[in-house]
């Protein structure tokens, strides 16, 4: 079963002469443990795709299913629960809560979901360890470097049993070395945690880490390529 399914999805803003089409006839399935990179010029619909995948916005037409559940059939409470339990977000801006420690930041979504403090702490510790952080967890975000803060944000995004990570230019605010480390971390999530990742990035080298690269233009998917498959074809052609 796919983690996310888009079937003929359309997203428009406004109506009549002021209507703006953000997405047109987008169909895409993300398999468990798959990394999808999304590329395209500014305004091509990349971020809208992420918002729809996370249930933050509704499509104007078409169908979106997350974890096999059609979002259109869920009421607001069920959708919020689905988001909390199955979907994590990482943005260019880190969005960590400055007044909470690293541990507390990662525990936050679990506690909001009703998980007890003891269990939340254990899961947060495990999640932080999986992104390479197991010291100074009682420190505040400002005490960490940019790369470490992004690791905390990723740990928070994947804590618990979340099956889908939506990452919107997660390296945009980082230097190249730190950005590379963050991408390596995202690329390891499928094998370490079984998480699927949709990564929006302008950086070709980061897109090349994905199982599939989706190219978008004017709200449409205009190409889907498999870098590793190309790689194997190039090897075979030698």
């Amino acid at each position: 079963m796919s983690v996310v399914d888009f079937v003929d999805v359309v997203k428009s803003y406004g109506s009549g002469p002021t209507e703006v089409r953000a997405l047109t006839d987008v169909s895409l399935s993300v398999a468990p443990g798959e990394i999808i990179a999304v590329r395209g010029p500014s305004g091509c619909g990349k971020s809208t795709l992420l918002h729809l995948a996370g249930g933050l916005e509704d499509p104007s037409a078409g169908r979106i299913a997350v974890g096999g559940r059609d979002l259109a059939t869920l009421d607001a409470g069920e959708r919020a629960e689905l988001r909390r339990r199955h979907v994590g977000y990482v943005f260019q801006r880190l969005n960590l809560v400055a007044g909470l420690t690293a541990m507390e930041n990662v525990m936050l979504p679990l506690e909001l979901d009703g998980t007890g403090a003891r269990e939340a702490r254990a899961q947060a510790r495990e999640s932080l360890a999986s992104v390479g952080l197991d010291h100074h967890l009682d420190r505040y975000p400002d005490d960490f470097s940019g790369g470490q803060q992004q690791r905390i944000a990723i740990a928070r995004a994947v804590v618990g049993a979340r099956s889908l990570l939506l990452a919107d230019e997660p390296t945009g605010a980082l230097d190249s070395r730190t950005g590379e480390a963050v991408i390596e971390l995202l690329a390891s999530l499928p094998s370490v945690r079984g998480t699927s990742v949709i990564l929006v990035t302008h950086e070709p080298r980061y897109a090349a880490c994905a199982d599939r690269v989706v190219s978008m233009r004017d709200g449409r998917i205009v190409g889907v390529t498999d870098p590793l498959g190309h790689d194997q074809q190039l090897e075979a052609a030698r």
Binding site: R205, V213, G223, P227, L228, D231
Partner: protein, 192 residues
């Protein structure tokens, strides 16, 4: 760059035999520029003819080569000479994209997308090589830098194709030609 300058540079640290020059050249260039011994000797003889190197007496059949003052001067000038790049760029990718613009817009965008996909594949391969080399740590800095430059060049080409796509999209139908260039459907995996 010609091999001749490479050999002159290697001789600035002291005399070397022909085979030693071949090995040193290949090591210094990260293994991406293999030479055969015949090529090395032919080049050395030309450098000797031009007064840039001289050979010592044969030592058990091998002659050691050393720089002359003129050769040292030549190397000194070479370091600071800016490599020439003749505009406009004439590599095959550029030519192919420019020619595709003479046809219809959709075909041009398809060609751009196809080559970008192939370059992403190449980039994946280069990244894998870079990681493998870092792990093995066997070939040294030169080899690592060779992979780095290949990654960066592939990225530069991809960014250029992104720009092409953006400009073609914004410009509407490209080219004034009513005669589309001859084309064939793309085949997945084609490199050309």
């Amino acid at each position: 760059m010609a091999v001749r300058e490479g050999l002159l540079v290697l001789l600035t640290d002291g005399p070397l035999h022909g085979y030693g020059l071949k090995s040193s050249f290949e090591h210094a260039t990260g293994g991406v520029w293999p030479l055969n011994v015949g090529q090395v000797y032919t080049t050395l003889e030309r450098l000797e003819r031009d007064g840039f190197v001289e050979a010592s007496q044969a030592d058990e059949g091998q002659r050691a080569w050393r720089l002359t003052d003129r050769g040292r001067e030549e190397v000194g000038e070479w370091w600071w000479a800016i490599p020439g790049e003749e505009p406009p760029p004439r590599d095959e990718l550029v030519l192919k994209i420019l020619l595709s613009l003479a046809g219809d817009r959709d075909h041009a965008l398809e060609v751009i997308g196809h080559h970008r996909d192939a370059l992403l594949g190449l980039l994946a391969q280069r990244r894998r090589q870079a990681k493998g080399r870092r792990r093995a740590d066997a070939d040294g800095l030169a080899s690592e830098l060779v992979v780095d430059v290949l990654v960066l060049r592939a990225e530069a080409d991809i960014r250029w194709l992104d720009l092409c796509e953006e400009r073609v999209t914004n410009a509407g139908a490209p080219g004034d030609s009513t005669e589309p260039v001859v084309r064939h459907r793309k085949r997945r995996g084609d490199r050309r």
